[in-house]
């Protein structure tokens, strides 16, 4: 099963385009909407997870989205933290339900399993020293 996470950025005039509908209907993709931030007259952002047994199907779907004037970004880069400033205290891992963030033995430093992150953003507030950023 091929799977990827993308952030779709809709310019203000494209916010109401029903791209998710087309991805399901016309490209036979399984879509899971993880986060949405859409303001009328402003940019809209949608974080989605896309699944299909074929990588090409996903690629074709994303190509269609781009053709609609919607920007597509792979999600890998979204969650970041300042490694120098992080104290490896663990507070962020408390709220990470999918256990994407965890402190790992033997050196007990913070690690992120990008595959598991749903970009829920809860870790951002939970970090006592405010070193986590999600640009979404």
């Amino acid at each position: 099963m091929a799977r990827c996470r993308v952030v779709l950025t809709f310019p203000p005039d494209k916010v109401e385009k029903p791209v998710a509908y087309h991805l399901v209907k016309d490209f036979d993709l399984r879509i899971n909407i993880l986060r949405a931030k859409v303001d009328l007259n402003e940019e809209g952002k949608l974080l989605i997870e896309i699944e299909n047994h074929k990588q090409e199907a996903i690629q074709r779907g994303l190509q269609f989205v781009r053709e609609q004037g919607v920007q597509v970004e792979l999600v890998d880069k979204e969650l970041q933290w300042d490694d120098e400033e992080c104290t490896n205290c663990g507070a962020c891992t408390a709220v990470c339900r999918p256990r994407a963030l965890h402190l790992e033995a033997p050196d007990w430093k913070l690690v992120l399993d990008k595959q598991k992150c749903t970009a829920c953003g809860l870790c951002v507030d939970a970090c006592p020293v405010k070193v986590i950023r999600i640009d979404f």
């Binding site: 205290c89 663990g90 507070a91 408390a94 709220v95 339900r97 007990w108 939970a126 006592p128 020293v129």
Partner: protein, 396 residues
């Protein structure tokens, strides 16, 4: 059993430290060594064991003396970067408490941040008001200070380095925001904060070698144990090896803020709870004899703690039994038949770094072990606060 038990004095250890011949290892290392070669081997070969912790310690703060302005002022109210400090001590002395919050940016900036900013060498905005007296006519002042521009800046933390601490869970249906981090509903997580086998007071459960005057690592500088910490409860319940089963002894510590390093002293905000200070503390423990060798050899699996339900907002919370630190470190514990993910709230990575740094200080002769000038009280337990009338309290 060997017929001659090993003993060493503080003086003997310090002689070895001065000659660069001391054998010093961290509490992690000694636990392994004891498991491999036995406690007697440790007693015979190890002089000092370094312990450490790096975690949120709300009961922290610093005394500052700003020096006198011209004309002078007897400060009645004082703010540092908009955070109120206590100044009911003489004219220009103040105490900035870690958990005090900024009046303009509460839950975002507080006393702990002021302390961290001072340590980092940043200028801090000082504002004060006064009534004005004959000898202190000035009624307000607005200026900037740094740690180098003021006379004294010493940390004085009334309660640090808790000997063991609870595991927090939440059995209710809503998320709780606590000083033990964010607790997810329906036993969604379990948070714990002790450094376990590396934690200072768990390596000397009866505080034989840790008392008033003990020289320690505090926030990156040399500090001292000043007194028993507030809520010091050595009389707490212990297991068969003498290790407390929940929060027990505590230390009040003092040290020169000007020499500290923000790597080991960090302000933090607990989401929807408030401001706190992460403090790094390391304590060197002299292996005086076989008993101390046994104490410092303690391992995570030997240290149990109690799981408490933080969804009950009462002083005596219901508990869900005991777990040990090896189980906590494994990532999951079982609570009420449910597999609950565990989350540490103190940094083991940073604590290990401190134990290592302290080991180097001792090995390089920069820190001598200090015999306590006075031992801390041995049996008391922390008292609750009752709401009573004057009659009741007067009649005991």
């Amino acid at each position: 059993m060997s017929c001659m038990s090993v003993t060493r004095t503080y003086d003997e250890i310090n002689e070895k430290i001065k000659k660069g011949k001391v054998v010093v290892v961290t509490a992690d290392e000694v636990a392994e060594l004891a498991a491999e070669r036995g406690v007697s081997y440790v007693a015979k070969n190890v002089d000092v064991v370094t312990t450490a912790t790096f975690g949120a310690m709300c009961s922290s703060g610093a005394f500052l003396n700003f020096g006198h302005s011209d004309p002078p002022i007897k400060m009645a109210k004082v703010w540092l970067n908009d955070v109120p400090a206590y100044t009911g001590v003489a004219a220009v002395d103040a105490y900035i408490g870690a958990t005090e919050m900024s009046e303009s940016r509460p839950f975002e900036y507080g006393g702990a941040h002021v302390i961290e900013d001072l340590v980092a060498g940043k200028p801090v905005h000082l504002r004060a008001t006064a009534y004005g007296t004959d000898c202190y006519p000035r009624r307000e002042i607005d200026t900037y200070v740094t740690k180098d521009s003021i006379n004294q800046a010493f940390m004085f933390n009334p309660r640090n380095a808790y000997q063991n601490y609870a595991v927090a869970v939440n059995s209710s249906d809503r998320t709780l925001y606590t000083y033990m981090g964010t607790l997810l509903p329906r036993l969604g997580n379990a948070t714990y904060s002790s450094a376990g086998q590396l934690s200072p007071l768990l390596n000397d459960p009866y505080l034989r070698t840790i008392g008033v005057g003990t020289r320690i690592f505090l926030g990156g500088a040399i500090g001292y144990v000043a007194w028993e910490g507030t809520q010091h409860s050595p009389g707490a319940k212990r297991d068969e090896n003498g290790i407390p089963l929940a929060a027990a002894s505590t230390l009040a510590v003092v040290g020169d803020l000007k020499r500290m390093d923000r790597r080991y002293l960090r302000a933090g905000v607990m989401h929807k709870y408030g401001v706190t200070l992460y403090v790094g503390i390391g304590v060197p423990i002299p292996v005086l004899d076989e008993e101390m060798a046994r104490f410092v050899s303690v391992r995570d699996e030997d240290i149990k703690t109690t799981v408490f339900d933080y969804s009950v907002p009462h002083r005596s919370r219901p508990n869900f039994g005991h777990v040990n630190y090896k189980e906590l470190r494994s990532g999951y514990i079982e609570v009420q038949g449910k597999r609950v993910p565990t989350v540490p709230l103190s940094s083991l990575e940073r604590a290990r770094e401190i134990a290592q740094a302290l080991k180097e200080w001792v090995a390089e002769g920069r820190l001598l072990v200090q015999e306590p000038v006075q031992r801390l009280p041995e049996n008391q337990v922390s008292r609750p606060l009752e709401v009573v009338g004057l009659e009741e309290i007067a009649n005991g």
